[in-house]
């Protein structure tokens, strides 16, 4: 609210000119708009994401350009802070320049006005009355007082001047709003990460970018308990505790030590009847030596715990290292052995060995239930709970990894039940699924035994031999060469199938047989292979008389053959069956310390009061000069308002009518 014309005099010193420039309205408005435009950047470009994401998005060249411009954390970049600082300086200069005159204006009733200037005012009236000067002055003063005006009388040479004012607090509105902005910015500065940046710049702290256990993070990346502001986060598994929080900084983090220990007893998600989440709650225990006994509280979204100026919020949740009991069923030549049974946890890695081969099992996730569209229903909105699942990666020695998702419970499909396991080689792909049929006992034993027989070369040889003899006998031919080549073909077909399923066999047919014979001979090959597979399967099954049983066996055989045929795409020597689990969740907490908060709130209160004073409490002044005129008196009334000129038109009209009535009979 500066008025430049009032203060400008020619020939300023340089300092004065800088001072005036800083306090000028033009600069202030420019800064307001510059700040607005600068703020847009951070809303268009997502802030504080992992640096690798930016690198992928922009490519190496622009990544560097944007990084040096501080665009990944605009609001604490130097140039943004510079604009803010300039705004604070500009506002301060403005306040310093104008507050004295504002305060004066709040109280000063302006007793130095001349009759001439009153008459020249936009709102001015003059009339004569019969009553005496003293009486008129008294009447006017009383009436103005009743209208809420502060009144002062001054004796002038030609009469008495009444000066009055109402709404002087309007000027306070100016001071409040502008001081509020300074206070809010300073409070915000207290809560910003500027001190951290400074410390980093001076080399007193260093951002940690490695994935280390908390206690191995070096001291230079740890912040001791103190009065500094921070916003940290921690994931605490149920039953565990933490005495630190992590502050995300650019592409790394810092460890902030807390003056207390937080233990998560339980984390809960409640749901509405429709399935949407209704609440996220954590039962928290806070240990502090200063407490007689630990503080037990339940926090939830919108209901944080505030302790000693530290606020602890429910922010997110994740898996807290759910315990998994797994059975590793071999799918390779090791089939037939009992499954290897072991326990692991979510986020745990372990090296697995299969004969010569080895791979690293990295358990990624666990879900207690999977509510997905039911593939057996036509309506995609029909949802079904597929039960628990866990996700993992198998990483080979070369570092390549395939991701798997195994469901714990058998999934029904076409009236049969299967163990379901999804596989993909990159996160951008959809899962492809392996369906392993379960046997009449509900287990994998029958499948495992069938696999074992398929890998048993001697068994396959003898079955091939028998089948060869039967086939040739029906033809009635006897030829050693033919015998040998047919037997080799049969075992070869089985081997081909084990390597790459029916697709592999089809490729073989297409690439080695003459085109003319592909149809007839190819079909013969496939049916011979199917016959072989059936013979191998039934070689281990007790013969049965029941048609129903045979029917079931044939269906199982078909499903098993389909599953084995897709092994090459599944690409894992083992199937992990989730036998049991112990669900452990982790509560994601945010811990913040903002010493500037009450300062900011004070600024907010001032701003609110100030804005309303400024807009809705107009400062109105009335003057009246009362002079002797004949036996009565002459009154010159004038008024002004610094807001709402339209309303003041009406107000002046009403007040002057009223004053005319009380000041005695009008002679006009």
């Amino acid at each position: 609210m500066s008025d430049d014309s009032r203060t400008s005099t020619p020939r300023h010193s340089l300092g004065q000119r800088i001072f005036h420039f800083l306090g000028s309205m033009d600069l202030a408005i420019t800064l307001l708009l510059a700040l607005a435009i600068a703020s847009i950047i951070g809303t268009v470009l997502q802030q504080n994401q992992p640096y690798t994401d930016y690198l992928i998005k922009f490519g190496p060249f622009w990544f560097d350009v944007f990084e040096s411009a501080g665009l990944y954390d605009v609001y604490s970049s130097l140039w943004f802070l510079a604009i803010l600082t300039l705004l604070v300086i500009s506002t301060s200069v403005c306040v310093i320049r104008h507050t004295p005159s504002m305060i004066k204006d709040m109280w000063n009733l302006r007793t130095h006005v001349q009759e001439k200037s009153l008459k020249a005012m936009h709102h001015s009236q003059e009339w004569d009355v019969n009553s005496s000067v003293d009486e008129s002055v008294n009447n006017l003063a009383v009436e103005l007082g009743q209208q809420g005006f502060r009144v002062k009388q001054t004796v002038k040479e030609n009469g008495i001047l009444i000066s009055s004012m109402r709404g002087g607090m309007n000027r306070l509105g100016y001071i409040f709003t502008h001081v509020a902005i300074i206070i809010i910015c300073l409070g915000g500065l207290l809560d910003s990460n500027l001190p951290l940046k400074l410390a980093e710049w001076q080399g007193r702290i260093q951002i940690e970018t490695r994935d280390l256990p908390t206690n191995q993070v070096p001291a230079i990346s740890r912040l001791p308990v103190g009065s500094n502001a921070f916003r940290g986060s921690i994931h605490i598994p149920e039953g565990r505790s933490s005495e630190v929080a992590f502050l995300a900084m650019r592409d790394g983090y810092l460890v902030q030590e807390l003056p207390f220990k937080l233990e998560v007893k339980d984390f809960r998600i409640e749901h509405y009847a429709t399935g949407q989440p209704k609440s996220f709650e954590t039962d928290l225990v806070l240990y502090d030596d200063e407490l007689e006994q630990p503080l037990e509280v339940t926090i939830s979204v919108n209901h944080p715990l505030i302790y000693k100026g530290y606020a602890i919020y429910q922010a997110s949740f994740s898996d807290g290292g759910t315990g998994l009991s797994l059975e590793a069923w071999p799918l390779d030549s090791g089939a037939g052995h009992k499954p290897f049974i072991f326990d692991t946890k979510v986020f745990e890695n372990r090296q697995m060995h299969w004969g010569e081969e080895s791979a690293r099992l990295e358990v990624l996730s666990f879900r207690p239930f999977n509510i997905n569209p039911d593939p057996t229903e036509e309506d995609p909105d029909k949802l079904r709970n597929f039960g628990p699942s866990f996700g993992f990666k198998l990483r080979s020695k070369t570092g390549e990894a395939r991701e798997y998702l195994n469901y714990m419970l058998p999934v029904p499909r076409n009236g049969r039940e299967f163990y379901l396991s999804g596989v993909r080689s990159s996160p951008t792909e959809e899962f492809g699924y392996l369906y392993i049929p379960i046997d009449s006992e509900g287990g994998l034993t029958a499948f495992n035994q069938f696999l074992k027989r398929l890998y048993d070369d001697e068994l396959v040889d003898s079955i091939a031999h028998k089948m060869m003899l039967e086939t040739l006998a029906s033809v009635g031919d006897k030829d050693d060469d033919l015998e040998q080549s047919l037997q080799e073909s049969l075992t070869g077909l089985v081997a081909m199938f084990m390597k790459g399923g029916f697709t592999n066999v089809a490729t073989f047919i297409e690439t080695t047989l003459p085109e003319a014979e592909q149809d007839t001979l190819g079909a013969a090959y496939v049916s011979m292979l199917r016959e072989m597979l059936a013979r191998i399967y039934f070689s281990g099954i007790e013969p049965t008389e029941s048609d129903v049983d045979t029917e079931q066996q044939l269906t199982f055989l078909q499903d098993a053959v389909d599953a084995i045929g897709s092994f090459s795409r599944y690409d894992s020597p083992v199937y992990f069956l989730l036998a049991d689990f112990e669900h452990v969740e982790a509560s994601g907490l945010q811990v913040t310390h903002s010493p500037g908060k009450s300062t900011v709130y004070l600024g907010c209160a001032l701003l609110t009061i100030g804005v309303f004073l400024l807009f809705y409490l107009p400062q109105r002044r009335f003057w009246a000069i009362v002079k002797n005129k004949g036996r009565g008196a002459n009154i010159v009334l004038a008024g002004m308002s610094n807001r709402n000129p339209r309303e003041f038109d009406l107000f002046f009209e009403q007040i002057s009518e009223q004053l005319k009535q009380v000041s005695g009979n009008s002679q006009q």
């Binding site: 809303t43 916003r231 939830s300 908060k597 804005v611």
Partner: protein, 385 residues
């Protein structure tokens, strides 16, 4: 100056009307508190008292508002009574399904607002004060139906299930109705104050646009279904933060539409001074003044709303300010109007540039209100929890 006296209506209603109104509000508040003090927490008690005081102040010199509020209360109670405890009655009961169920009320509101817009323009172009009066009545009716719809929807949410129940200001669908109702009320206030109905069509135009969006949102997207609150929104702050914000948005929208009228009139004054627009619209200085009033009001409420948002954020998101896109855009809107007000109050700018600026301001506001939700991700989308 005497010719301007009638452009402002700040005459006070009779003392009897004033005191009976204040008394009514006091009684309503006391009855509410007496009946429910056992289940109210201190914030809810404060909200009841604050609401009663605000309504008493708003209505004491504004008979239209008094009638509106009484109609809203009576119709809402009628609907609640017809519903009883059975939400299904909304489909079968005649009164509910055709008039008072929230969806029906909103349809009435939409139709009435569009009719009012047409009527205001018809009145303006035909120079008929009778049609303009009809337009005012239509606007009041639309506002009443909108408010009743919100009240009834509030009740309906509790009829779905007590844990689903919440005040209907929780999603884009609901706040669009709030926007229409608040903008209309703001307009009606100034219509009475400035004794002119010729700006009604312009202001109602943006309300009709909101109504059109609303209808598309209902029929195209099925957004009218009442959804339970996500945990982040389960807070008493929502009850005050959102309405305060929409007083701001409504006032800024009104200022922009008056800016449009201002620019049209000043354009026609130079090209066709005897034409309809140049003569029928109120004089430029009045529109200029109204634009300022509207922006000042919007700015005051927007300031309060943003501060309330900060207080809420300090309780829900771990800090009073997170530079979340919605927060940042609120700041941008605030800075924009702060600059506007400085220009106007200190540098004394007025007229066309300020009218243009007010119109541009609407687009900034619109982006903060809609664009952020549509194009940017952040905490206000409630994606993480």
């Amino acid at each position: 100056m005497s010719n301007r006296i009638n452009t402002l209506n700040i005459e006070h209603d009779s003392a009897v009307a004033q005191w009976s109104w204040r008394g009514l509000m006091a009684i309503a508040a006391i009855v509410l508190l007496a009946l429910y003090s056992s289940v109210f927490d201190s914030y809810e008690i404060a909200i009841v008292i604050f609401t009663a005081v605000s309504l008493a102040l708003l209505g004491q010199n504004w008979s239209g508002f008094r009638r509106h509020l009484i109609a809203v209360v009576l119709l809402s109670f009628l609907a609640i009574w017809r519903y009883g405890h059975d939400l299904a009655l909304g489909e079968t009961d005649f009164f509910l399904s055709y008039i008072l169920a929230s969806q029906s009320s909103f349809m009435w509101m939409s139709a009435l607002f569009v009719m009012a817009t047409v009527a205001y323009f018809a009145g303006l172009f035909m120079r008929s004060s009778f049609i303009e009066k009809v337009a005012s009545v239509l606007t009041w009716s639309a506002t009443t139906m909108g408010m009743v719809g919100l009240m009834v929807r509030w009740r309906e949410s509790y009829l779905i299930s007590p844990d689903v129940g919440h005040i209907p200001v929780s999603n884009l669908y609901e706040v669009f109705i709030l926007f229409a109702v608040i903008t209309a009320l703001l307009y009606l206030f100034y219509e009475r104050r400035y004794q002119t109905r010729s700006l009604g069509g312009f202001v109602l135009l943006i309300i009709s646009a909101a109504v059109a969006f609303q209808l598309w949102y209902t029929f195209g997207k099925g957004a009218h279904e009442i959804q339970p609150l996500v945990p982040a929104l389960q807070s008493y702050w929502m009850k005050i933060h959102v309405p305060a914000n929409f007083v701001g948005y409504g006032a800024f929208a009104m200022a922009a539409m008056i800016g449009v009228a201002y620019l049209l009139k000043s354009w026609r004054e130079t090209t066709k001074p005897q034409g309809l627009l140049a003569t029928a619209l109120p004089d430029l200085s009045m529109m200029d003044d109204l634009m300022y009033k509207s922006i000042a009001l919007g700015f005051a409420f927007f300031t309060v709303a943003t501060i309330l948002g900060a207080l809420w954020a300090a309780e829900a998101w771990g800090g009073y300010w997170s530079w979340d896109p919605k927060e940042t855009w609120a700041l941008i809107v605030w800075l924009n109007y702060a600059a506007w007000l400085h220009m106007r109050m200190t540098k004394g700018w007025h007229g066309k540039p300020m009218a243009w600026w007010a119109v541009i301001g609407l687009f900034v506001t619109l982006f903060a209100f809609l664009g952020v939700n549509m194009f940017l991700s952040g905490l206000h989308s409630y994606g993480t929890l």
